[in-house]
């Protein structure tokens, strides 16, 4: 009888103890020389990663180089893609690239939205196909890093909304943060080149990487076009797509001088006519594919950057930098750091047509 009574007392007591334990998580500890409370560290708390036995690794960055003979010199290329939606065309094109795959690292960042989740699911399937150890037919990428953005992205991504002038600044500021987050967490001690390739580039020459590095420029952009069906001429045609590759104009500078610190100029809108020469309009079907032109602003659709440029600090400003933002601001920052920026007007890559 007495024992039974004690048990009945014990039930609520144990329940309360259990509650307290659940809420406060149990095993905390203190240290003699600190007023703070610490958690006892369990082995499985640690972030899983492959570390050498003594955890120490040594890298000589003096030996790191970015040369026009990148493939021959076994230089690592990091392909970075902000991925709002997963296009089979993009992935197929990526797999067709002829640069040695064991020297390619991939980095993706998906937005924190339902669209991002959908893209992530498709990407997971695609990656698991290529990187699967049982798949011995194909070579594997040296590394694949997939990130999810930390902040909520603007939900609407339809073609019309995406290009409305009013929300351009906010959208591109978020895109800049996404690009930087991807870049600065994936660029490593082996990375020689960084190729920015948008998720809607569905067609490019197979030798894209070799072609771009062969120019040996700190920053070089391909010309981004789009295939469409010309209803008037009743035939397939191409038209320029990326208008962020441009040369500064007097009118552009004049407009910039009238703007407040927090205002930006973006290309391709009637609201601001800067009369900047756009690389999109310099395509000559009969011209030399290796023709270079110096640029002041670049887009991120297909952009090859020597990793040193990024390591020196050239990033994608999420704030108006000389009235420029994101990739255009990046070109300005690279120039402030003393690097030259180029474009290839006759070297085309193709954007998906929605």
């Amino acid at each position: 009888m007495i024992a039974f009574k004690q048990v009945r007392y014990l039930v609520p007591l144990l329940a309360l103890i259990g509650l307290v334990w659940l809420i406060f998580g149990g095993s905390s500890t203190s240290k003699p020389n600190s007023p703070y409370t610490y958690k006892k560290i369990k082995k499985n708390d640690a972030i899983p990663r492959n570390l050498p036995a003594d955890h120490i690794s040594h890298y000589d960055l003096n030996k790191l180089a970015s040369t026009p003979m990148a493939a021959y010199n076994k230089e690592r290329v990091l392909i970075l893609t902000p991925l709002a939606k997963f296009l089979d065309g993009y992935w197929d094109n990526l797999l067709k690239l002829s640069y040695p795959r064991e020297q390619i690292e991939l980095g993706f960042i998906v937005p924190r939205t339902a669209d991002g989740d959908a893209a992530l699911r498709k990407l997971e399937v695609a990656v698991k196909q290529v990187q699967n150890p049982k798949n011995t037919k194909e070579p594997k990428f040296a590394k694949v890093t997939i990130l999810r953005q930390d902040n909520e992205a603007l939900e609407s991504q339809s073609e019309k909304d995406r290009h409305a002038f009013k929300i351009q600044k906010e959208r591109r500021a978020q895109m800049a943060v996404a690009r930087n987050s991807l870049l600065f967490t994936t660029i490593g001690p082996y990375t020689s080149w960084v190729l920015w390739l948008d998720a809607d580039i569905v067609e490019s020459p197979r030798t894209l990487i070799q072609d771009l590095v062969s120019h040996d420029k700190p920053v070089i952009a391909a010309n981004c076009y789009q295939r469409y069906y010309d209803n008037d001429k009743k035939e397939d045609a191409i038209r320029p797509y990326d208008f962020n590759n441009w040369i500064e104009s007097d009118e552009g500078l004049r407009i910039a001088s009238t703007l407040g610190d927090d205002e930006i100029i973006v290309e391709g809108y009637a609201e601001i006519a800067s009369y900047r020469p756009l690389m999109g309009h310099f395509y000559d079907p009969n011209g030399d594919v290796n023709t270079e032109m110096q640029l002041d602003g670049v887009g991120g659709t297909c952009l090859m950057v020597k990793a040193d440029v990024h390591r020196d600090g050239a990033m994608f400003p999420s704030f108006p930098f000389y009235h420029l933002i994101e990739t255009e601001g990046f070109a300005k920052m690279a120039k402030r750091l003393g690097y030259e920026v180029f474009g290839l007007p006759n070297y085309l890559v193709y954007h998906f047509n929605e």
Binding site: R8, Y9, P12, A15, L16, G18, L19, L22, I23, S28, K31, N33, Y36, T37, Y38, K39, I41, A46, I47, R49, L51, D54, H55, S57, H58, Y59, D60, L61, N62, R112, D117, L120, R121, E124, Q131, N132, P133, K140, F141, A142, K143, V144, T145, I146, L147, R148, D150, N151, V177, N180, F184, T185, P189, H310, R311, D312, G313, S318, F319, R336
Partner: protein, 451 residues
Amino acid sequence: MEAQLGSPKLFRHSTKPHKQRNYLYVGFVAVGLLIIGIAVYIVSAVLQTGDIFRYTPSFDPSSAQETVFYDLKDYMGHSDGWYRGDQILICVPLRDAADHLPMFFGHLRNMTYPHALMDLAFLVSDSSDDTMGTLKQHLEELQADKDPNMHFGQIEIYEKDFGQVIGQGFSDRHGFAAQGPRRQMMARARNWLSSVALKPYHSWVYWRDVDVETVAPTIIEDLMHHDKEVIVPNVWRPLPEWLGNQQPYDLNSWQESDGGLQLANSLDENAVIVEGYVEYATWRPHLAYLRDPYGDPDTEMVLDGIGGVSILSKAFVFKSGAHFPAFAFEKHAETEGFGKMCKRMGYSVIGLPHYVIWHIYEPSNDDLKHMEWMAQEETRQQREQSQQKQYDRVYQAGFLDVKENWDEEKPMILRNTDSSRGSRKIDVVWEDVDTFNAQPNSKLADFDPAV
């Protein structure tokens, strides 16, 4: 009646079922509380980690080689990161630092932030001493320590030389002008270090110079609990007594002023304003000078430029692109430019005026000259003292000291020369003075006072 009321048997009998119900009731309430508690726990966990309804893929070496997924929202940094298990990256730029490393590793061992949660990244550049050898030796000793709690997380050593600072010719006209290129070079080194070392799973980044002499072992927790994006302590240095015992060291932590903005507007695009030179009088309030030794160490001050001796920053600040400008960014470079850029990106930049860490004292050229003079003066005085002793001895041997006699005789002798102290009265008789002219044989000198 008495028996009825007082009968313990009756009382017990009538209330027993009621008591049992009571226990059951308490039991139900406890179980209910437990369920509510679990629900609260889950809800709070959901709130803390954000949207758990997002899809999370799983990669392992059997399904996809060399593939990783991270949700960056899991690594935003908590104000109690030492308890939550926030991984922190410690960035340490090194240049000719072999002498300071033993002291630095002493501090590192003492740090109370869980060592396994600390990843170390070193950048060794342009060193002519054995910085690399000393560093490796200390690291290997540290990681071989018998106490597993002493071992750190990932440790990466990077080597990169940036070459000598160009444009020394500047300094002929303006000593401070050479600061620009020098600081831009240091900025590049910092950017290289953080860009290669930062991983998606880092929640915090702590920048630390090795030449800090005195610092609390809880430095990271002390800064972290403020929950700011960028935060720096006050940096002072001890001085020899003849220089006033202590002095503000880091003058790069300041708040922007109208004077500073005016100066910035008047300068060329590539000019870099450097604090602490008379050429650039900005009238900015400096964190260092606002220190009160008895002030609350948790007092915060909003800053615009910061120094690099000890910076704690949330990792997303660097992930989102903030860095140490190696060009003139709003007329500032390196850590001061970093402060400006963080402000531009909307992040909080905070300094703690009354929380102090102590930099080592390295004497300046003027100090060295003064110290040399002090040393010479000391030996001169010692030499003089010993000469004096010798002189005294010779004097005593060769001369008879009559000072005591003289002390005795002096008043006696002087008494006779002092008329005011004399007691004799002297009477002068003037009566025969008129008869002097009457003497017949006497003759006056040929002198007439009237002429």
